[in-house]
């Protein structure tokens, strides 16, 4: 039997592989803030007040281009809408937690910690200390993110883009995806989500292709399972 502390550290250790891919992204974001002539306190404020990498990078680019505030805010919201689905997905795990704890979980959740947590749930549905696993994974990712921003802001783009280390992120998500492919309905959901993302992400504005692709995948999986049920009836 393991305790909360062990689960926290197990969560932290489990995300180590993705840090290789996350670090260069954080460095690029840190450098982008410097490039946008944001001051130290300003970039510290932005790094500490929100954890949502892709939208933050977009916000900094728009801010640097003197875009009207409403457009910056709308862009960030559009990019972050997928988090509401993670929020729905995580709700059950946090049922017994206080409002403050749930708010902190909402603050610190990222694509990465969500993915690792749901894969852990898929592998060990009985894990009653899953919230500690989530916390360990999330804190580890947030700390790495902040460290990368600090390096990028102060030292510039120190990680050569030629190494393509960003490729480590889809590689990790890929192996996290495998346990979720049990059942034909979920395979169809994953396949349609992937195809929709390949078509839509490059063409739809404000990164909204990603959200539309996720919804497409969810709907295709549900449609398949309801057609299947009707045939059985």
């Amino acid at each position: 039997m393991t305790g909360p502390k062990e689960e926290f550290f197990r969560g932290g250790r489990s995300v180590m592989p993705i840090l290789i891919g996350l670090m260069p992204f954080a460095v690029v974001f840190g450098f982008a803030m410097k490039d946008a002539s944001m001051t130290g306190p300003q970039s510290t404020f932005f790094s500490l007040s929100l954890l949502a990498g892709a939208s933050q990078l977009a916000a900094v680019h728009l801010y640097a281009a003197k875009t009207p505030a409403l457009i910056i805010i709308a862009t960030v919201i559009a990019i972050n809408l997928r988090y509401s689905m993670y929020s729905l997905s995580l709700q059950d795990l946090f049922q017994k937690r206080s409002f403050g704890e749930r708010l902190f979980a909402a603050f610190i959740v990222s694509d990465q910690s969500y993915a690792f947590t749901m894969t852990e749930v898929e592998k060990n549905p009985q894990n009653s200390l899953i919230t500690f696993f989530f916390l360990g994974a999330s804190v580890c990712i947030y700390m790495t993110w902040l460290a990368g921003i600090f390096l990028g802001y102060n030292l510039g783009t120190i990680i050569p883009a030629g190494l393509s280390l960003d490729f480590a992120i889809p590689l990790v998500f890929m192996s996290l995806l495998i346990p979720h492919l049990k059942g034909r309905d979920r395979q169809i959901s994953a396949l349609s989500g992937a195809v929709a993302a390949i078509i839509l992400v490059p063409v739809l504005p404000l990164n909204s292709g990603l959200l539309v692709a996720m919804i497409t995948g969810i709907c295709c999986g549900m449609a398949y399972s309801s057609v299947k049920k009707k045939k059985v009836d």
């Binding site: 997905s89 709700q91 992937a194 993302a197």
Partner: protein, 106 residues
């Protein structure tokens, strides 16, 4: 001052989205339809995150189709299915990408 106001609004609105169902909409207020989506959120979300970053490389002029990425990503997926191990998948995927980048020029 404009800066802090703007970025505080950004942080707060994002927190509301991130906590929408965790903090603000209680389980009994969620329509039953949403419960059926739960099973599909992880596979749909993960594959939608993965697929574009395997097919396209981010260049100066936006997203371009990258054959080294497609080849390395496709083979890495087979490795991921066989090995079920994240480290093995990363190491083989990165080595394949570097190798293909040397031999496949676009």
């Amino acid at each position: 001052m404009y800066y802090y106001l703007l970025f505080a609004v950004i942080a707060l609105s994002s927190l509301v989205i991130k906590g929408l169902f965790l903090c603000f909409i209680p389980p009994h207020k969620i329509p039953p339809f949403f419960e059926k989506t739960l099973r599909y959120i992880p596979p749909a979300a993960l594959s939608a995150l993965v697929a574009p970053s395997i097919i396209y490389a981010k260049g100066a002029e936006g997203m371009v189709i990258s054959s080294p990425r497609i080849l390395a990503g496709g083979l890495a997926f087979l490795v991921a299915m066989k090995s079920r191990n994240i480290f093995v998948t990363i190491v083989s995927g990165m080595i394949l990408l570097w190798a293909f980048s040397c031999f496949v020029p676009f």
